[in-house]
């Protein structure tokens, strides 16, 4: 890791660790991986389960990771990473940091059990969930982190059902309930905040977790050049939030006085274009209740 008090876009490592991959243009997840590896550096051992980043990064013989990297089973990213960390420790290797890059389905659905075990054992692994809100690699199917109203290929928008009818799992709180040393939410729209959190998490010995919201032009039906700004908007309108959990406490890092319009965010995305006013009202109400609870319980600073 760079020996800097604070890594910023100005002083961040110029070396690239993840390139030549086959991610879609404007991929928010590839940006999250790229930034995290620049922060962690040469000592990173990255573990990726089935998902977009493994699918685009490891097509033999074109390996897209400069650092040590390996594909795990779909449910086994956290356990493979735990084994890598344990092996490096047993062999007394200094200067390594095991990091998982797993998608929303790979984390909140099929990978949750192994992740729970990893945090329970406090394995020396930074687990980063890049959340693009559906199983995008297999062609946009609903995951446990797909938001209400989103159209996917398994939650089609028709006359009777308007896309996904459930809300995102409260993954950050599920992780925090393990009383993990450090967990955070982030967004590639607020990249300095994300970089800070990766730097902090990577410096902690033990299990840490970052849930980073990432845009997906292919799955969301958004222009490729708006990938960063739309993830800023998701935070500004309150559908996503920036928070941390450490020392047994939650902290809201960003508490907007006024939210920008959800309707504006929604009309920019193909996955939401079927939503009517009633649907949008439902989403607003859900957001407001979520923030009421977070502000009350998390005692923002």
């Amino acid at each position: 890791m760079q020996n800097l008090e604070r890594i910023t876009p100005r002083n961040i490592d110029a070396k690239e660790y993840f390139y030549g991959h086959k991610a879609c243009a404007g991929c928010g997840c590839a940006l999250a991986v790229r930034l995290a590896l620049k922060v962690i550096g040469d000592g990173a051992f990255s573990i990726l389960p089935a998902g977009c980043m493994s699918a685009v990064g490891f097509i033999y013989p074109q390996m897209a990771f400069v650092n040590n990297s390996m594909i795990s089973t779909f449910p086994g990213a956290a356990s493979l990473a735990a084994g890598v960390a344990a092996g490096n420790k047993a062999l007394k290797r200094e200067g390594t940091k095991t990091v998982v890059f797993a998608g929303d389905g790979g984390t909140a659905d099929i990978g949750l059990q192994a992740l729970s075990g990893m945090i329970d054992r406090d394995d020396d692994v930074l687990y980063i969930c890049y959340d693009n809100e559906a199983y995008m690699n297999t062609g946009i199917q609903k995951s446990g982190l797909t938001p209400f109203g989103a159209k996917t290929t398994t939650t089609p928008a028709g006359e009777h059902i308007h896309g996904t009818q459930t809300n995102k799992k409260r993954l950050f709180e599920i992780i925090a309930a393990h009383d993990i040393k450090y967990a955070a939410t982030a967004s590639i729209g607020y990249y300095q905040d994300y970089i800070n959190k990766v730097q902090k998490a990577a410096s902690i010995k033990g299990a840490t977790f970052i849930h980073v919201a990432c845009s997906c032009p292919t799955g969301w039906g958004t222009p490729t050049e708006t990938s960063v700004e739309i993830m800023k908007e998701a935070v500004d309108n309150g559908l996503w939030f920036l928070a941390e959990y450490e020392n047994h406490k939650f902290t809201l890092n960003h508490n907007p006085k006024v939210f920008t319009l959800i309707s504006e965010y929604i009309k920019k995305q193909g996955r939401f274009k079927h939503l009517n006013e009633h649907d949008i009202k439902t989403i607003e109400l859900y957001r407001d209740k979520m923030w009421e609870r977070m502000r009350e319980e998390w005692k923002n600073n």
């Binding site: 000592g43 493979l80 084994g83 344990a86 059990q113």
Partner: protein, 401 residues
């Protein structure tokens, strides 16, 4: 219970496994408890606690993670061990092919146990036989001593640079895992001489960063699989070499891929896998006293399948029987299929019969085995003996069919 490295100890099969694993000095042990494997991981935990074993014991939350973590440790060049049984083995099945395809020489002990449903904690070999094609070396042992010795041999074979393939050592559930026997414990220094530290080119390190566990297109996939297959075939002579070297150093030879007993002039040869070999050996002695020309082949490895050695051992027998503690529903016993294939490819036409028995822990008696030998003899005398025979089937069920 503290297991020291005395010269001899009276221990269960599970404890013998733990003793063998300790002598092999693994760096990482990751395991999830399941009957009848549990004693292995309990003893290993105690060894880590009392510092007689310098390993990281990972308390994983499932069998899937048990092997996934062991594979991760192996992928950075650490020696790793796990153990499981039955449903647990099936739960980690996905990781079995990752581990073998990735060429990570993890060693696993499997306590052979029936598969649900009906739920049963008792032994048969349905679990590992279902996964014969998973790319792992599969060895089956007969007693606690062989179990201990094979933990040491397993690493030596699996980690060989020509092989680099994970290794499964199978013990019959309860019959071996929970039976106490007097076991000779090799000296640590002797084991260290026999089994050098693990080295592999196939690992992630800071000196030489690598991308492992990648995907391949149809243009390359077959070549990876071919190399994996070739590695298992390469293991055949190396298994023999390692067994010979082990015998020279420790005084116990197991015959390599298989062991023969009274086969030289035998007309009727039983093929056994695992603990049933002991009972069959006693029956062979009894029948020999009665003048019957009977023998047995203890098939120690099912992957790689030692076809050549098997054909040589069968020799001029008139009939062979295969005891299967398993049934591939709608077909026949899995070991029978494998033995038959070896015979068919070499156009060996003799009488062949499959005996399905011992399922879900059902006892296989000496009389049962005598009956099997009798069926082989009947078959050669022109009597109509079915290819697949269920031994000791309850009459109330057999009449229903």
């Amino acid at each position: 219970m503290k297991l020291d490295n005395s010269k001899k100890l009276f221990v269960s099969g599970d404890e013998a496994v733990a003793l063998g694993v300790r002598l092999a000095r693994p760096h990482v042990i990751s395991a999830y408890p399941i009957t009848p494997q549990t004693v292995v991981v309990e003893r290993l935990s105690e060894m880590v606690e009392d510092r007689s074993l310098d390993a990281d014991f990972m308390h994983v939350e499932s069998e899937h993670s048990a092997l996934s973590a062991a594979m991760g440790a192996s992928a950075v060049g650490a020696r790793a061990f796990t153990a499981t049984s039955s449903q647990g083995l099936l739960y980690m099945a996905e990781v079995l092919s990752y581990c073998s395809g990735g060429r990570f020489p993890v060693v696993m002990m499997n306590a052979n146990r029936a598969l649900a449903l009906p739920w049963s904690i008792f032994g048969d070999q349905s679990d590992s036989l279902l996964l014969l094609g998973s790319g792992w070396i599969q060895c089956y042992v007969e007693d606690a001593q062989e179990a201990l010795d094979m933990m040491i041999q397993a690493y030596k074979i699996a980690e060989n640079s020509q092989i680099l393939t994970p290794f499964m050592v199978n013990l019959d559930g309860f019959i071996l895992t929970h039976t106490y026997e007097l076991v000779d414990i090799p000296k640590q220094s002797q084991v260290d001489d026999f089994l050098p530290p693990f080295t592999t080119p196939n690992k992630m390190s800071l000196e030489n960063p690598m991308n492992l566990g990648f995907s391949s297109t149809p243009a390359d996939n077959l070549e990876f699989k071919y190399q994996q297959h070739q590695a298992l075939l390469n293991a055949l002579p190396i298994i023999e070499e390692v067994d010979d070297e082990f015998g020279d150093r420790f005084g116990r030879y197991y015959g390599g891929v298989l062991e023969t007993y009274q086969t030289d002039d035998a007309d009727f040869v039983m093929i056994t896998v695992g603990s049933i070999t002991g009972t069959t050996r006693v029956v062979v002695n009894t029948l020999r006293e009665e003048g019957k020309k009977v023998g047995l082949i203890k098939l120690r490895y099912l992957r790689p399948m030692p076809e050549e050695a098997l054909l040589e051992a069968i020799g001029d027998a008139k009939a062979i029987g295969v005891i299967d503690k398993d049934i591939s529903f709608g077909h026949e016993g899995t070991i029978f299929t494998n033995v038959n294939s070896a015979l068919a490819k070499s156009s060996v036409a003799i009488k062949k019969h499959n005996f399905i028995c011992g399922m879900g822990g059902r006892n296989i008696s000496k009389n049962d085995i005598k009956e099997m030998y009798k069926l082989l003899e009947d078959s050669t005398k022109g009597k109509d003996v079915p290819a697949v025979n269920f031994i000791n089937l309850n009459t109330s069920v057999s009449e229903v069919e």
